[in-house]
Amino acid sequence: MSDFTLWDIARGLLLSARWTIALSLVAFIGGGVVGLLVLLLRTGRGHALPVAARTYIELFQGTPLLMQLFIAFFGLSLLGVDTTPWGAAGLALTLWASAFLAEIWRGCVDAVPRGQWEASSSLAMGYLQQMRHVVLPQAMRIAIAPTVGFSVQVIKGTALASIIGFMEISKAGTIITNATFKPFTVYAMVAALYFILCWPLSRLAKHLERKLNAAHRH
């Protein structure tokens, strides 16, 4: 049996980090697009669509991400859809992220004073026009910091995709542990890699929060 140097382990983990980053980007960008649609339904006019959007958000917030991954992976294949770990993980994380982002952003939209809606309504603007030109530009300032903060949750959430066989850092860690019998070394390095990905984002979120709050107070 061959000996693994620390570098061998690190290289294996680093290569798999590409897939953690790729899955995170897919989930975050996909979640952002779907989340914006859910937000528009959630804060829109009428009764049925906001209720449907709220139910969507509550379903994804009220169930473990792991179950959502299982359902996407095994459920879809039961329905005859040909799933791959990539497809299932991308789908589940996108929907999961969209629910959380929609809810974060709804809070930011609610923080825009009612007078802004009334003024734009009285100028004969429709809902989408109000959202696009009046409300979202103001809500976005408030949303930047918590959105960047949530990206950390997305990165950590991708670790669960290892369970359905998606080859990212955690999965690579398990495989390398099985080969090297050095669980402590390997998982410490796995944790360090997550930290290197997440910590700058956490700091950025804190920094943006302080900066935008200060600008707001001025």
Partner: protein
């Protein structure tokens, strides 16, 4: 036919019966002051005229367009009636000029250079021609309110609703806003204003409406109305305001 017709309007907020059968007709070019204690329903009445509040019963038409809950009709109506708010409600992320341009471009699809020309024209009318590029938080309250008036005028409405537009202003800034309103009145704009400025109402308005407990309690031409109030409620209210 009068420009604004309010017919037997009722409004409930839950169990609270705020408007109890208000009827009122306003001719084109008329300037109306609505006065009354807080809670008398005067602001609610104003907000019903452009559909910011839904009415529980009765009807309102502006220039023969009925106020309804239907989105398309409501927007057609709101092109005919502008509104100025107590808290100005300028869009804080846009310059004064862009505030005046936005709805022209978005709602009326006016070309950018034409919208800008109108915006400069309207800002000039309210005495703020040089503030086109100023952000709202760089303007005084009085200036912000004048931008809000320019913004409403840029849509070329048939009538303007003014909801206590000087109540949030420092006393020394009230007159610059009232001067703009007075100029509008002189130019023939139809105005319906909820106000606490009794002297202004007396000097500028054609008719004064006293709201009391959700009803039009007394109405008349300003001289008669202020010098010889008929009902004890109006006498008492005017006594309180004068004191």
């Amino acid at each position: 036919m009068p420009l604004i017709v309010i017919d037997n309007v009722h409004k409930h907020f839950g169990a609270n019966h705020v408007l109890k059968g208000v009827s009122l007709s306003i001719e084109a070019g008329e300037v109306i002051a609505v006065i009354g204690k807080s809670g008398s329903g005067k602001s609610t009445l104003l907000r019903c005229v452009n559909g910011l509040e839904t009415i529980s019963e009765g009807s309102i038409t502006v220039d023969e367009v009925p106020v309804s809950t239907h989105e398309t009709h409501l927007r057609e109506l709101r092109l005919k009636v502008g509104m100025i708010f107590q808290q100005f409600n300028l869009f804080p992320h846009l310059s004064a000029g862009r505030n005046v341009m936005l709805s022209q471009q978005v709602v009326k699809k006016t070309a950018t250079d034409e919208a800008e020309r109108i915006a400069r024209d309207m800002l000039g009318r309210v005495g703020l021609a040089e503030k086109f590029d100023a952000m709202p938080d760089q303007l005084s309250g009085g200036q912000q309110q004048r931008v809000a008036i320019a913004r409403a005028l840029a849509m070329q409405p048939r009538a303007l609703l003014c909801d206590e537009i000087t109540s949030a202003l420092d006393p020394e800034l009230v007159n610059e806003v009232l001067a703009v309103v007075r100029a509008l009145a002189d130019a023939g704009m139809t105005l319906m204003m909820v106000t606490h400025e009794m002297r202004f109402a007396r000097e500028v308005c054609d008719r004064v409406i006293f709201m009391h407990q959700g009803k039009v309690h007394e109405t008349g031409a300003p001289d008669e109305f202020f010098s010889r109030p008929k009902t004890p409620e109006l006498q008492q209210f005017l006594g309180m305001v004068a004191a």
